[in-house]
Amino acid sequence: MSNTLQFKEFSSFVNISFWHELSNKKLDELKLSEEPIPLNAHYTFSPSQQLDPFLCLEFNAFLKNNTINTTENTYVLPPRSYLSHGTLFNYNTVDDFKQSPKLKLFDEASKRIWNDIKNGNVDKDTSLLNRFILLTYADIKNHQFYYMFGIPALLPSQPIQQFTEQPESINIESIKSFSNQSLPQYFCLRQGDDQSSFELIGSIEEKGNQYLNDCLKDGSIPLVGFCDPCPLPSNPGWPLRNFLIYLSVKYPSLKKVKVICFRGNGVNSNNILLSLELPSMSELIEKQQQDGDQWSGKSVGWEKDTNGKIAPRFVSLASTMDPLKLAEQSV
């Protein structure tokens, strides 16, 4: 019986402070420029079992990641949060926004993920697996914003299968040396003597290569983990998708892997263990090589509206930005 692993998509969560910042930027800096702008977004563990996994953008999204110049403000992730690299395409008119080359932009983002996997950038920084694009049209005069999110996930030739019936739920109390502050985005673990205890080996960047090669050598199934924004008992969140692609590309002989979806140390966190069969990427890799080693496969991840359609979203902030309306509200 096939048991296809299904991933829960991100829901974008644009903080009002982001729109304020975009308006200011548009007026003061960007003016009529439509150049792409790098953004930083974050995700964290779901605060409740009943909330969507959010990809959050806040006022500081425009700040640079690591600036050498110390006088400049740098982007600081909130605690227990993980980075997603974004690119903003802000258009000057509604028509430009409508006619923007959406497919091309989405493909470009997918290509960047693929290239970073192939050229080894991800080995040093796994956050590069998480990318998004944001298309906007900011009608600053009326405090209205149109936007679309694309959060690409590369597709393997075959969907990833689970070789167990259901994800196993695991007890968090028994994971040793897990401290919330320092838990990397993707990591590897060791199972303790007792079936239910785990120990953190290190981040994928630091220890992944050695650990996975050791596992391949002695034929054991490696155990990896990631910080999962999704709270569902049977599904992992989006950040796992490109990570699994990364593993299959980087370790072609790796056939099976166990994955801990870590959801935080809270009382209600709902950690699960997935047992997965990795698809062969060799066909895809060959195909890419013929295409000049560029990603030409498929990828998915446009944010859908409530009807499941890929359509732009709209937000009006007149009630919190319009000085006249504000005057009415304040007492």
């Binding site: 903080n15 006022f59 969907p159 409530t306 007149a318």
Partner: protein, 316 residues
């Protein structure tokens, strides 16, 4: 604002005498809060708005995405009574801080405050409160008035972006999921799981230090089920009606420059003083670093349905 500029910063502790805080004590209390409750963090905000009497990276406290499942109106009277009993605060005097009345909430509603019909929720099971108070159509009309024309987003539909049907996506709604090719039992069960995702309001709550009142000040920013910012009148639905239009107003957040609803701090010190006194009476040593826990406990009377974290085991 101007008054604030000329008010000297409080430098000696008057926590026990007046229930107020110095900036240093605010930082101390914030440190304990962020330490015990990991959902709370220190933020620096907009650097150009930094205040000199607080450390650069500890300008204000923030907790994000706090779920708020029900509107205040749907709260059961009993639970409210329980909270009210716990924190019974000054009830005399004209402008005293009003504690929620344990009974009769349904009856003495000022008609001009909120449209009651729009707030009726059938909530036998907590899970059914997902969809809001208002049907979407109403919402749109509302926004038309307030926020200008709502564009027809169908115009924006780009027929070129049709995404590959991906069996590995857990879709947001049933109809699309069931059309996937491998609609075996497995998919079925996942659809059900997906239903457990509750679309609820969430709040970002921030606490700033109010130099004039020498107390913390609480700011609320709400988002609806679709992550759209709530309008001020919608935020009032999550504030106990005794406080909604008396103690909550809108102003620009000192560190973000964005308009937020805030709970007016004019009575905070007096209430805190009472709580501190009660602690002493009960033979407990009031600790200034626990100020914010005590404070948040009493704020929860004002915003009873916003489920932020302030759990520290201690008695008043």
């Amino acid at each position: 604002k101007t008054v604030e500029k000329v008010t000297p910063t409080l430098s000696t502790s008057k926590f026990l005498e007046e229930g107020v805080l110095t900036p240093e004590e605010f930082v101390q209390a914030g440190d304990l809060l962020t330490d015990k409750c990991q959902t709370w963090t220190w933020e620096s905000g907009d650097p150009s708005r930094n205040v000199s009497y607080l450390p650069k990276e500890k300008q204000f406290l923030l907790t994000r995405n706090v779920p708020c499942y029900t509107r205040v109106r749907t709260l059961e009277n009993e639970s409210k009574a329980a909270i009210a009993e716990e924190i019974r605060i000054e009830e005399d005097g004209e402008d005293s801080w009003v504690a929620p009345q344990p009974t009769g909430n349904q009856d003495d509603i000022d008609d001009d405050k909120v449209d009651i019909s729009s707030l009726k929720i059938d909530d036998k099971k907590p899970n059914t409160t997902t969809t809001t108070t208002k049907p979407n159509t109403n919402n749109d009309e509302d926004e038309d008035e307030d926020d200008g024309d709502i564009p027809d987003l169908d115009d924006f539909q780009d027929d070129n972006i049709i995404e590959e049907d991906d069996p590995a996506v857990l879709s947001k709604n049933k109809t699309t999921t069931t059309t996937t090719n491998n609609s075996n039992n497995n998919t079925e069960s996942k659809v059900e799981d997906n239903d457990n995702i509750l679309r609820t309001r969430t709040y970002d709550i921030s606490i700033t230090y109010d130099k004039y009142y020498q107390t913390p000040r609480v700011w609320l920013f709400g988002y609806d089920e679709n992550r759209k910012p709530l309008k001020p009148e919608e935020i009032f639905e999550d504030i106990s009606e005794d406080h909604a239009h008396k103690t909550v107003t809108i102003d620009s957040h000192p560190h973000l420059g964005i308009s937020f609803a805030y709970i007016h701090p004019c009575r905070h010190a007096a209430v805190m003083k009472k709580l501190v006194d009660r602690q002493s009476e009960n033979g407990k040593e009031p600790r200034v670093d626990q100020y914010l826990f005590l404070f948040l406990k009493f704020i929860s009377v004002v915003i009873p349905t916003i489920e932020y974290d302030f759990t520290l085991e201690f008695d008043t």
